[in-house]
C-alpha cells in the first residue's frame, strides 16, 4: 500500500481509494454485564473493500450491527460522510444509503426473487400513499423505472433463471445471492456483508468472491464484510480490521495483518505459561 493520507491511498492492484466514508470512534457496546465491543476505532474509505475478521465471539457481527443501526453503542461516535450520525433506527440508516445482508439470511421467504429484490428499491420510491392506492401515472412510471434497475442487478448477479421462483424453494447459495441482489438494488453507498460465504461450498465461494469484486469494480460500491475464511478475506480485501474478545488487535493490509504477532496468537492460540 502506498502512503495513507486523509484524501486516500492507492491499492496494490492500482485502484485509487478515497477519503473516509464512515468512521467509528471509540465504540463500546455492552449487553448487561457482557462487553461485546470495547473502545474500537476504525474507518472505511470511499471505494475500498474492508474486512472485519476475528475468531468466534470476537464481536464482529455486533460491530456490523452498530454500523447498520441495529445495535446502539453505549459509548463512541459514528461518523458517516463527514458528519456525526445522531442515534438512528435501522430503517433510517438504510435510507441513508447503507445496505446489508445477514449472517443467517433474512429474505422474504413468501415472495418471489423479483419481489425480494424490488423491496430493495423501496427507499427510491417517492410516490405517496394515495397515488399508490390509485395506481396512476407517476406511480406506474416509477415502478417501471425501478423494475428496469432491478433487472440490471438480476442480470449482473446471474439470477435471471430464478426470477419468478419463490425464495423459500431456493438452495442456500442462491438465497445468499438473492440477498446480495436486494442490498445492491438499493444502490448503497456502503454495502455491509455479514459472512457472505458462510456455509458455502468451494464453487459457491468462488462465485460470491467474484461478485463482491465485480460489484466494487462496476458500481464503485464501498464494501465492508465479515468473513471467517481467511483465504477469501486476504484475496478480497484492501484493508482488514482484526478483532478478538471485543477489542481491536490489528488493522492494516492483508500482508501487514498476516504478520502481526497478536493476530497470529489470536488465531492459533498461544501458550499461557
Amino acid at each position: 500500500m502506498n502512503q495513507m493520507t486523509e484524501e486516500g491511498y492507492v491499492t496494490e492492484d492500482g485502484r485509487t481509494i478515497g477519503g473516509k466514508l464512515m468512521e467509528m470512534r471509540n465504540i463500546s457496546l455492552r449487553f448487561g454485564g457482557v462487553k461485546a465491543i470495547t473502545d474500537i476505532s476504525f474507518d472505511i474509505r470511499e471505494g475500498e473493500i474492508r474486512a472485519i475478521i476475528g475468531p468466534n465471539g470476537a464481536g464482529k457481527s455486533s460491530m456490523l450491527n452498530v454500523v447498520s443501526g441495529f445495535y446502539v453503542p453505549q459509548e463512541g461516535e459514528v461518523w458517516f460522510r463527514g458528519e456525526k450520525r445522531p442515534q438512528m433506527r435501522p430503517y433510517e440508516v438504510a435510507r441513508q444509503g447503507i445496505a446489508r445482508t445477514f449472517q443467517n439470511i433474512a429474505l422474504f421467504e413468501g415472495m418471489s426473487v423479483l419481489d425480494n429484490v424490488m423491496t430493495g428499491r423501496l427507499t427510491h420510491m417517492k410516490t405517496g400513499l394515495a397515488a399508490q392506492a390509485l395506481w396512476k401515472g407517476k406511480a406506474e412510471r416509477e415502478e417501471v423505472e425501478n423494475r428496469e434497475f432491478v433487472e440490471k442487478i438480476i442480470d449482473f448477479l446471474e439470477i435471471q433463471a430464478i426470477r419468478k421462483t419463490p425464495v423459500a424453494n431456493l438452495p442456500y447459495g442462491m438465497k445468499k445471492r438473492v440477498e446480495l441482489a436486494r442490498a445492491l438494488a438499493a444502490e448503497p453507498r456502503l454495502l455491509l456483508l455479514d459472512e457472505p460465504m458462510a456455509g458455502m461450498n468451494v464453487e459457491e465461494k468462488e462465485d460470491m468472491s467474484r461478485f463482491v469484486l465485480d460489484v466494487n469494480d462496476e458500481f464503485g460500491t464501498t464494501i465492508a464484510l465479515i468473513e471467517h475464511d481467511m483465504g477469501v478475506v486476504m484475496d478480497l480485501s484492501d484493508r482488514v480490521v482484526v478483532m478478538d474478545y471485543g477489542k481491536k488487535i490489528g488493522d492494516g493490509t492483508p500482508d501487514e495483518v498476516r504478520n502481526n504477532q497478536a493476530v497470529i496468537d489470536a488465531y492459533l492460540g498461544v501458550a499461557h505459561d
Binding site: 433506527r89 430503517y91 433474512a106 422474504f108 413468501g110 424490488m118 423491496t119 427507499t123 415502478e143 436486494r182
Partner: protein
C-alpha cells in the same frame, strides 16, 4: 321441482350471503395476523366501535355527552345537525386511523418482540377497553344505521324465480350489496398488497422484521397502516352488520363467529377467510334446515364451532393455511 328442494336452494343462497358477512370480519383478522403476527381479538369490537361512531356522527350526537352532562350539569345530547352518510363515513375512517395510531403508540410499540400470547392478551384488553370507550362516547342504546343501502326483498329475483320455479326466492337487497362490496374490498386489497410500494413493504414486514428494517421500511408506519386497514375493514363490516341488525353491543359477538371461520380457512389466507366464511354461512343454515327440525333447532348457535373442532383434528392449518413444519 319439489318444494323442499326449492326451499333448500333459498336457504343455501341466504347462507352464502350470511357467510359473506362472516368473511368480512374474518378478513380483518387475517390482515393483521399476516402483517404483524398479532391475533387481534378486538376486530369484532372495532367493527362495533366503527358503527357506533358512524351513527353518532351522522345523527350529530355529542360524544361523551353523559360524561359532560354529569360533570357540568348541562343537558347536551345532540348538536342538532345531520351529517350526510358519505361524509360521515369519511370522518369515521379518520377516527379509525387515529385509533390505529393510538393502538400502536400506547400499546403495541411497547410490546415489540414479546411472545404472541402476550400480544393476544393485549388485544383482549383492547377489546374490553374499546367496548367501554364506545359506551362512554356514544351511549349504550340500540341505534338504527341507515347509510342509504337498499334493504328488503329483491323483487327482481323474486319475480324471476317465481316465473321459473313457481316459487319466489326471498333474497335481501342488503345481502346482495354486502356481497358486491365484500368482493370489491377483496379485489382492491389484493391489488394493493400485490402491486403497490406500501403493499410490498407490508408483505415484507409480515415476512421478516429485520430484513424489512434493512431495506429501509419503518415498522411503525407499516403497523399504523395495517391497523388502519383493519379499521377500514371493520368499518365496512360494521356498516353491513349495523344496517342489518341495528348497532348494538352484541355486534361484538360476531367476532366470535369469525374464529371458526378462521380455523376453517386458515389464519394466514385471504381467500381462506372468504371460503371459510361461505362454508360456515351455508353450513349452519343448511344444517338448521335439514337436521335442525329433527333435534329441536337452534343448531346455528353451535354448528360453526363443532365444524371448526372437526377441522382442527384433521387439518389444523385450515383449508388454505400454511402447513406448520417444526424442525426437531
Amino acid at each position: 321441482m319439489p318444494e323442499q328442494v326449492l326451499w333448500g336452494m333459498e336457504v343455501f343462497l341466504n347462507g352464502l350471503m350470511a357467510g359473506v358477512l362472516y368473511a368480512l370480519v374474518a378478513l380483518g383478522f387475517v390482515l393483521i395476523y399476516k402483517a404483524s403476527g398479532i391475533f387481534n381479538f378486538s376486530q369484532g369490537v372495532m367493527a362495533l366501535f366503527a358503527a357506533l361512531t358512524l351513527v353518532g356522527i351522522m345523527e350529530g350526537q355529542v360524544p361523551f355527552s353523559h360524561l359532560i352532562n354529569a360533570a357540568l350539569g348541562t343537558e347536551l345530547h345532540h348538536f342538532g345537525w345531520h351529517v350526510p352518510a358519505f361524509l360521515a363515513i369519511l370522518l369515521t375512517m379518520a377516527v379509525m386511523v387515529l385509533l390505529a395510531w393510538a393502538v400502536n403508540q400506547f400499546v403495541f410499540r411497547h410490546l415489540v418482540g414479546q411472545e404472541p400470547i402476550i400480544l393476544f392478551m393485549a388485544t383482549i384488553g383492547l377489546a374490553y377497553f374499546l367496548e367501554g370507550f364506545g359506551d362512554i362516547m356514544w351511549g349504550a342504546d340500540i341505534k338504527n344505521l341507515d347509510v342509504g343501502l337498499p334493504q328488503g326483498i329483491n323483487t327482481t329475483i323474486d319475480e324471476v324465480t317465481y316465473n321459473i320455479f313457481g316459487y319466489g326466492f326471498f333474497i335481501d337487497n342488503l345481502d346482495l350489496w354486502a356481497t358486491a362490496i365484500a368482493a370489491l374490498l377483496v379485489v382492491v386489497l389484493t391489488i394493493y398488497s400485490q402491486y403497490s410500494k406500501q403493499g410490498r413493504a407490508l408483505r415484507a414486514v409480515a415476512d421478516d422484521h429485520q430484513a424489512a428494517l434493512s431495506v429501509g421500511i419503518s415498522l411503525k408506519f407499516i403497523w399504523i397502516l395495517v391497523w388502519s386497514i383493519a379499521g377500514f375493514v371493520a368499518l365496512v363490516a360494521g356498516i353491513m352488520w349495523g344496517t342489518k341488525s341495528g348497532v348494538q353491543f352484541s355486534l361484538s359477538l360476531i367476532a366470535l363467529k369469525a374464529l371458526p371461520v378462521l380455523m376453517l380457512g386458515g389464519f394466514t389466507s385471504i381467500p381462506g377467510a372468504i371460503v371459510g366464511g361461505l362454508i360456515i354461512g351455508v353450513g349452519e343454515k343448511m344444517f338448521e334446515f335439514i337436521v335442525g327440525s329433527m333435534i329441536g333447532g337452534a343448531t346455528e348457535n353451535w354448528f360453526a364451532y363443532v365444524l371448526a373442532l372437526i377441522f382442527l383434528v384433521f387439518r389444523p392449518q385450515g383449508l388454505f393455511g400454511e402447513k406448520i413444519i417444526e424442525r426437531v
